[in-house]
C-alpha cells in the first residue's frame, strides 16, 4: 500500500512543495466551486458541511431559548401567549436534541477525525456519508417548514394521547422531519462501525485506538440499535394521528404508556449518543494538556461500551410517575444506579490523568475542566432522579430541566467547543486567538452555572417545567437564570466571531501546534484529500506523553529566558 501512495505523490508533484518539501495541496484547496462541495465524498468536507448546518440549527434553537428566558423574567405571561410558549420550548427541544446535539460531535468531529485517527483514506462508504448529510438537510428543512407553518406544541417528547388526539399543531410534519433525520444518524453510525472495524491502518490494534474512536464506536452501536425504534414509533404516532388506528388511543383499546416505552427505548440511549462522543473528546484533550497517558486506558475504553449497553436498560426511569408498575420501576431504578459506575470510572480516570501531569491552561483544557465539573454535577443529580422517592417529588420540575442541561449543555456542548478549539488548527490550518478563546470559555462557564444552578433550586422548591407563568416567589431565581442565559449567549457568539476571523487572520498553525500524539497530528494541517501521503504504520500505544519531558523543556526555556 505504501508503494501505491508514493507512486501517487510522484505522479502528482504539485502536492509537494519542491523547495520546502511541505505539502501544498489540502482538502480545502484541492478543488473549488459549489459542486466540489455539494457532491464531495471527502469525509472532511462532509464534516464541514455538517459543521455549518448544525451551527445554524444551534443558533436557531438558541433563539427559542432566548424567547423562553425573556418570558420567564416576570411571573406573569407578558411577552408571549401560553400557546406560543408551549411551541417555543417544544421547538427549542426538538431543534437542539435532534438537529444539534445528536449529530454534533459524531457528525462534525467524528466525521473529520475517525478516518484520520485510524489512518484510513476515507470512511468505508463515502457516498453513504454524503447521503446522510443530505438526509439530515431534508429532515431539517421538513421540520423547519413545519415550524414556519405554525410550529408544534407537544414538547419534544411527543407524548400520546396529546400528540395524537388533541394537539392542533403540526405534529405529523415535524415528526416526519425527525423520522427522516433519524436515518442520517443511522447511516453515520453504520459507517463508523464498518470503518472502525475494517479500515484501521496496519498495526492499529483495538487497544492502540484513541479513546475518541472507542467512544464513537460505542455511540454508533446506540445509533444503529436505538434509532430505528424511534423511527417506527414516530411512524405509529403519525398513523394514529392521521388515520386513528387506535394503537395509542385508549378509546380504541390502545395504550399511551406503550408509546412512552417505545419513545424512551430510544430517547434515553439518545442521551448517551450525546454524551459518549463528548467523553471521547475529553479523553483526548485531558491527556494532551496534562502531558500524561490517560489513566486506566482500558477501563475508559470499556466504560464507553458499558455505558452503551447498560444505557439501553434504564429507560423506564422516565416513567416512574406514569402507569408503569412499581416493580418495573424498581428494576429500572436499580439499573440507573448501575450506569453511573462506568460514568464515574471515566470521571475518576480523567482526574487521575491530570494528577501529577504537566497541565497547561489553554482554551481546550479550560473546557475540559468545565466539562468534568459540570458533568459530575449533572451525573450526580441524575442519581437523585434515579431514586424512586425523590423522583416523584421533583418529576417534571425545573430540577429535571437543570439536570439534563448540566449533562447536555454543561457536558456535550462544553466538550464540543473544547474539541472544536483543539482541532480547529487541524481543520482549517489556522489558530484561533487564544486570549478570546479563554475569555469566552470563562464566560460560558460562568453564564452556564448562573443559568442552570438556580433551576435546581427552583425545581426543588416546586416550580414545574413547561409553564409560561409562575408564582411571585420564584422571580429572583428566574431573573438570575435569565441573566445567566444572556452571559451564556455572549459566550456562544464570541467563538462564532473569532473562528470566522481566524479563517483569514489566524496564525498559521503548522501540523502539530499542541505537540499532541495521534495520527491526525502526523499529517499536515489542513490534511490532504487522502489524509496521508503514505498509509501510516502504527507501532505503539496512544498517548505517549511524558510530563517529565515537558517539565524539563519548560525549565530549559525558563532558564534561557533568565539568561537573556
Amino acid at each position: 500500500m505504501e508503494m501505491d501512495r508514493t507512486v501517487v505523490a510522484e505522479e502528482r508533484p504539485t502536492i509537494i512543495d519542491t523547495v520546502t518539501g511541505a505539502i501544498r495541496e489540502n482538502y480545502l484547496n484541492a478543488n473549488y466551486g459549489l459542486k466540489s462541495w455539494f457532491l464531495t465524498v471527502d469525509h472532511k468536507r462532509i464534516a464541514i458541511l455538517y459543521l455549518i448546518s448544525i451551527t445554524l440549527f444551534f443558533f436557531l434553537g438558541g433563539s427559542f431559548a432566548v424567547m423562553i428566558r425573556l418570558e420567564l423574567i416576570t411571573p406573569q405571561g407578558d411577552l408571549v401567549q401560553a400557546e406560543t410558549y408551549n411551541k417555543l420550548f417544544t421547538m427549542h427541544g426538538i431543534v437542539m436534541v435532534f438537529f444539534f446535539l445528536i449529530p454534533s460531535i459524531p457528525a462534525v468531529l467524528g466525521n473529520f477525525l475517525v478516518p484520520i485517527m485510524i489512518g484510513a483514506r476515507d470512511m468505508a462508504f463515502p457516498r453513504l456519508n454524503l447521503a446522510s448529510w443530505y438526509i439530515y438537510v431534508v429532515g431539517g428543512l421538513f421540520t423547519l417548514g413545519a415550524m414556519i407553518a405554525g410550529g408544534i406544541d407537544t414538547g419534544w417528547t411527543f407524548y400520546t394521547p396529546y400528540s395524537t388526539s388533541f394537539s392542533n399543531t403540526y405534529v405529523i410534519a415535524t415528526g416526519l422531519g425527525i423520522f427522516v433525520v433519524g436515518f442520517s444518524s443511522i447511516l453515520t453510525g453504520l459507517n463508523f462501525i464498518v470503518t472502525i472495524h475494517k479500515m484501521r491502518a496496519p498495526g492499529l490494534t483495538w487497544f492502540r485506538l484513541p479513546l475518541f474512536i472507542w467512544s464513537n464506536y460505542a455511540t454508533s452501536i446506540i445509533m444503529v440499535l436505538g434509532t430505528p425504534v424511534i423511527a417506527v414509533t414516530i411512524l405509529l404516532v403519525a398513523l394514529e394521528r392521521g388515520l386513528h388506528i387506535g394503537i395509542f388511543d385508549p378509546a380504541l383499546g390502545g395504550d399511551p404508556i406503550l408509546f412512552q416505552h417505545l419513545f424512551w427505548f430510544y430517547s434515553h440511549p439518545a442521551v448517551y449518543i450525546m454524551i459518549l462522543p463528548a467523553m471521547g473528546v475529553i479523553s483526548e484533550l485531558v491527556a494532551c494538556f496534562s502531558r500524561r497517558r490517560v489513566f486506566g486506558y482500558k477501563f475508559v475504553a470499556f466504560a464507553s461500551l458499558g455505558i452503551a449497553v447498560i444505557g439501553f436498560l434504564v429507560w423506564g426511569h422516565h416513567m416512574f410517575v406514569s402507569g408503569q408498575s412499581s416493580y418495573a420501576g424498581m428494576i429500572f431504578s436499580f439499573l440507573s444506579f448501575i450506569v453511573a459506575i462506568p460514568s464515574a470510572i471515566k470521571v475518576f480516570n480523567w482526574t487521575a490523568t491530570m494528577y501529577k501531569g504537566s497541565i497547561s491552561y489553554d482554551t481546550p483544557m479550560l473546557y475540559v475542566m468545565g466539562f468534568i465539573g459540570l458533568f459530575t454535577i449533572g451525573g450526580l443529580t441524575g442519581l437523585f432522579l434515579a431514586c424512586l422517592g425523590v423522583d416523584i417529588h421533583v418529576h417534571d420540575t425545573y430540577f429535571i430541566v437543570a439536570h439534563f442541561h448540566y449533562i447536555m449543555v454543561g457536558g456535550t456542548i462544553m466538550a464540543y467547543l473544547g474539541g472544536i478549539h483543539f482541532w480547529w488548527p487541524k481543520i482549517t490550518g489556522r489558530m484561533y486567538p487564544e486570549g478570546w478563546g479563554k475569555f469566552s470559555a470563562l464566560l460560558i462557564f460562568v453564564g452556564f452555572n448562573l443559568t442552570f444552578f438556580p433551576q435546581f433550586l427552583l425545581g426543588y422548591l416546586g416550580m414545574p417545567r413547561r409553564y409560561y407563568a409562575y408564582p411571585q416567589e420564584f422571580q429572583v431565581l428566574n431573573v438570575m437564570s435569565s441573566a445567566g442565559a444572556s452571559v451564556l449567549g455572549v459566550g456562544y457568539l464570541l467563538p462564532l466571531v473569532y473562528f470566522l476571523w481566524s479563517l483569514r487572520y489566524g496564525r498559521i498553525a503548522g501540523s502539530n501546534p499542541w505537540k499532541a500524539t495521534g495520527l491526525e497530528w502526523q499529517t499536515s494541517s489542513p490534511p490532504p484529500t487522502e489524509n496521508f501521503l503514505a498509509t501510516p504504520v502504527v507501532t505503539e500505544e496512544p498517548y505517549q506523553y511524558s510530563p517529565e519531558e515537558t517539565e524539563a523543556e519548560y525549565a530549559m526555556t525558563k532558564k534561557e529566558n533568565v539568561n537573556v
Partner: protein, 221 residues
C-alpha cells in the same frame, strides 16, 4: 498490492477483500437496524396480544390462512432462487445469475400480488381500520369484543411495512439485473449480488415471523 487496486475496488479500500468484508458487514449492520425497526411493531403486537387474547384470536380467523400459506411458500421459493443467483454469481455464470434474479423478482411480485388481493378482500369486508371498520356483519360475536380493530391496525402496519420492504427488494433486484446484464460481475467481484441477497433473505425472515403471528393465532376453535 497495487495490481489488486483495480477499477473494481473503490479508492478508500486497499483491496477487494477489505471491500468485500466492509460491504458485507455494512449490510449486516443495516439489517440490525431493520430488526429494531420491525421490533417496535412486534412489541406493540405482543403487548396487545397479551392484553386482548380473545380479540386477537377471533380477528385472526378473518385472515385467509390459505393465502398466507401460499405466500409463505412463494417467499421461501424466492429465497431459494436468490441463494441460487448468488451461487451462480460466485461461479461467474452471468446468464444463470440473470435467470435466477428474474425468477426471484417474479416470485416477489407474485407475493405482492397475493398480498394486494388479500388487502382488497379486507377492503370489501370492511376490515380496514377507520370509520368504515365493521366486523359485526361477518361474525355475530364481534359486538362483545370491541377492540378487534387493533388487530387489523397491527396487521396492516406490519404487513404494509413488510410489503414496502419487498418493493425496495424488487428495486434492488432490478438494479442487480441491469448490472449483471452489463457484465459488471465476475468470479472475483460479485459482492453486490451477495449483499442484496442478504437483504432479500432478511425480508423473507420477517415474513416467517409475521405469518404465524398474524394468521395462525390458534385456529383450533
Amino acid at each position: 498490492m497495487s495490481e489488486t487496486h483495480s477499477s473494481l475496488v473503490a479508492h478508500q479500500f486497499d483491496d477487494g477483500v477489505q471491500q468485500k468484508q466492509a460491504t458485507t458487514l455494512g449490510m449486516w449492520v443495516f439489517l440490525i437496524t431493520e430488526i429494531m425497526f420491525f421490533g417496535g411493531l412486534i412489541l406493540a403486537y405482543t403487548v396487545y396480544r397479551i392484553k386482548y387474547p380473545e380479540e386477537f384470536h377471533h380477528a385472526s380467523k378473518h385472515l385467509d390462512y390459505v393465502m398466507g400459506t401460499v405466500n409463505t411458500c412463494i417467499l421461501l421459493c424466492s429465497s431459494l432462487t436468490m441463494a441460487f443467483a448468488v451461487h451462480a454469481a460466485q461461479e461467474g455464470k452471468r446468464k444463470l445469475t440473470m435467470i435466477f434474479i428474474v425468477v426471484t423478482m417474479v416470485l416477489g411480485a407474485a407475493f405482492l400480488g397475493v398480498k394486494g388481493w388479500e388487502y382488497y378482500t379486507k377492503y370489501t369486508d370492511h376490515l380496514i381500520p377507520g370509520p368504515n371498520y365493521d366486523l359485526n356483519h361477518l361474525w355475530e360475536g364481534a359486538g362483545l369484543l370491541p377492540k378487534t380493530q387493533l388487530f387489523f391496525s397491527l396487521y396492516f402496519a406490519m404487513t404494509g411495512l413488510h410489503a414496502f420492504h419487498m418493493l425496495i427488494g424488487l428495486g434492488l433486484m432490478t438494479w442487480l439485473f441491469v448490472k449483471t446484464k452489463r457484465g459488471r460481475f465476475s468470479k472475483e467481484y460479485f459482492n453486490p449480488v451477495e449483499v442484496c441477497g442478504l437483504y432479500w433473505h432478511f425480508v423473507d425472515i420477517v415474513w416467517i415471523f409475521l405469518f404465524p403471528l398474524l394468521y395462525l393465532v390458534d385456529r383450533s376453535h
